[in-house]
């Protein structure tokens, strides 16, 4: 960590700077919206990063709970494999898919979820999965906040309103609320089993999101359709800048998570040490 981290941090800073330059000066000016559109290079990558982090949190929470029980662990493992395969089959077999979904994006998502699950299962066993869940939730809330702040700044000049109860806006807001309550639970819980409680709440939150989505789907939607894997179209130069910014944001998120992960591990090691030291000394046999 000591040697690689500074290099990674410097690279991330350079990449962020370059991506900023690209977004502000190189990317073409949008015809109807003008320069306001450039906030899109921050809004969309933040949203993708936040959703990725929340998915990681969900998978890590499941893994933490399942990993404590042999039977549950095997069940979740097979469920993940079946989900990956079923997702791929469904993506190409079901016609037509719901509006705004492409077969390739559905299949990629299914495979990515399975892949992430096995990655976390291998490299973050036991307590580490809980640390990962905590870290991704914290950093995810930060990125989600960025999304919720940049969105209205863009919407005010373009739509003429700050906020509307549209499907994507509302789902993001509810997701943010759920994860803030998740962090509050972790902060205020006085139980030794806080990780298990938090993991249960994370699973509840993940179950809630599709329901929120469907309930608001029933109303009219105002948000522009997704740029990638949706109906929208985008200039290739803009797409290039967008992906570059996403890469920079992913690096930033990865760096923050890494740092926070190391800090949390250290914190727990200190706590454990203190607990051991505060135990009464065993009496020496005399």
């Amino acid at each position: 960590m000591r040697r690689i981290f500074p290099i990674f941090a410097v690279l991330t800073a350079l990449l962020l700077g370059y991506a900023f330059y690209q977004a502000m000066f190189v990317a073409p000016r949008e015809q109807t919206m003008g320069d306001v559109q450039r906030i899109f290079y921050y809004h969309v990558p933040s949203a993708w990063t936040a959703f990725l982090l929340f998915s990681l949190n969900f998978i890590a929470s499941i893994q933490y709970l399942a990993g404590r029980n042999h039977f549950a662990d095997r069940f979740v493992k097979w469920a993940a494999i079946i989900l990956g395969i079923a997702g791929c089959i469904a993506a190409f077999a079901i016609r037509p898919l719901p509006y705004g979904m492409e077969p390739s994006s559905v299949a990629t998502t299914a495979v990515a979820i399975t892949g992430l699950y096995f990655f976390i299962r291998k490299y973050f066993p036991g307590e580490k999965a809980d640390v990962l869940a905590l870290v991704t939730a914290e950093v995810g809330v930060v990125f989600c906040t960025v999304v919720l702040i940049t969105g209205p700044i863009w919407a005010r000049p373009v739509w003429g309103i700050w906020w509307t109860w549209d499907i994507r806006l509302t789902s993001t807001l509810v997701l943010w609320l759920i994860y803030v309550s998740y962090l509050l639970l972790r902060r205020f819980s006085s139980s030794d089993q806080t990780p298990a409680l938090a993991a249960a709440l994370a699973i509840f939150g993940a179950l809630d999101v599709p329901l929120v989505y469907f309930s608001i789907w029933f109303f009219r939607t105002q948000h522009p359709s997704p740029v990638i894997g949706g109906g929208g179209s985008i200039d290739s130069r803009m797409l290039h800048v967008l992906l570059l910014n996403w890469l920079a944001f992913l690096c930033l998120a990865g760096m923050l998570c890494w740092l926070r992960y190391a800090l949390e591990t250290l914190h727990r090691a200190v706590d454990e040490r203190r607990a051991i030291e505060s135990m009464p000394e065993p009496r020496s046999a005399s």
Binding site: L65, V174, L177, I178, V180, S181, L184, L185, F188, S189, S190, S191, D192, Q193, T194, A196, L197, A200, L201, I203, F204, G205, L207, D208, L211, V212, F214, S215, I216, F218
Partner: protein, 222 residues
């Protein structure tokens, strides 16, 4: 399992029948909310039909939290919960008994509040009124099942009383939206409430399953 549910439920109902703690505080609280809303909005019959769905469910949601906070705190006295934890009785039967108990309390509250709402807000349903019963049953269960679960979860937090709504409300957003919209649709009779009833049923199904799967973990979390 059924006998344990029955025993726990009967114990809770008997306790409540003798003390009437939960129902009194819920009833008075909901009454205050209704009166304050009535002053704040001062609606005509036409307007109140549009906003009543929201008012009813917000009042019931707040009132339900009062009962849900007491449901587990009661078991902390004399270490009753610890005794339950070490007993071989399945955790889910305790959960179901508590959830049914809370369902009964909130249902009684609804029965008592309905005439008040009709009088204060001059309500008369234009749509099919019998659907309101389905919405009430599904909606109450949606609040109560998650409320009981999060009540157990917030039992071991430093600020228990405030933690329960903080956990319960974000998760309940789709359920509240469905209940409110379904009620408003039925009262105004402008559009069908079928989609929202189906959504509520799906919400109940998903979260009842999740609660039953995860309650053991939460109960054992000490």
């Amino acid at each position: 399992m059924t006998s344990i549910i029955q025993a726990t439920l009967a114990k809770d109902l008997r306790l409540e029948w003798r003390s009437k703690d939960a129902i009194n505080s819920m009833l008075f609280f909901a009454l205050l909310v209704v009166v304050i809303f009535s002053f704040a909005f001062d609606p005509t019959a036409e307007e109140s039909r549009r906003i009543a769905g929201g008012l009813i469910w917000v009042a019931l949601l707040f009132a339900a939290v009062v009962a849900l906070n007491q449901t587990w705190a009661r078991e902390l006295r004399n270490q009753a919960l610890e005794a339950y934890r070490v007993s071989p009785a399945p955790a889910n039967s305790l959960f179901l008994a508590k959830a049914f108990g809370n369902f009964v309390f909130v249902a009684v509250l609804e029965l008592l509040m309905t005439p008040l709402f009709i009088v204060f807000y001059k309500l008369r349903a234009i749509g099919p009124a019998w659907q309101l019963i389905i919405v009430a049953v599904l909606g109450t269960w949606a609040l109560v099942v998650n409320g009981t679960f999060f009540g157990a979860m917030s039992l071991r937090t430093r600020n228990r009383e405030i933690m329960l709504p903080l956990l319960l409300f974000p998760i309940s957003i789709p359920a509240v939206l469905a209940m409110v919209t379904a009620t408003t649709n039925i009262l105004t009779g402008e559009s069908p409430a079928k989609f929202w009833i189906v959504l509520l049923a799906a919400y109940d199904l998903v979260f009842t399953t999740a609660c039953l799967l995860l309650f053991e973990t939460v109960l054992q979390a000490e």
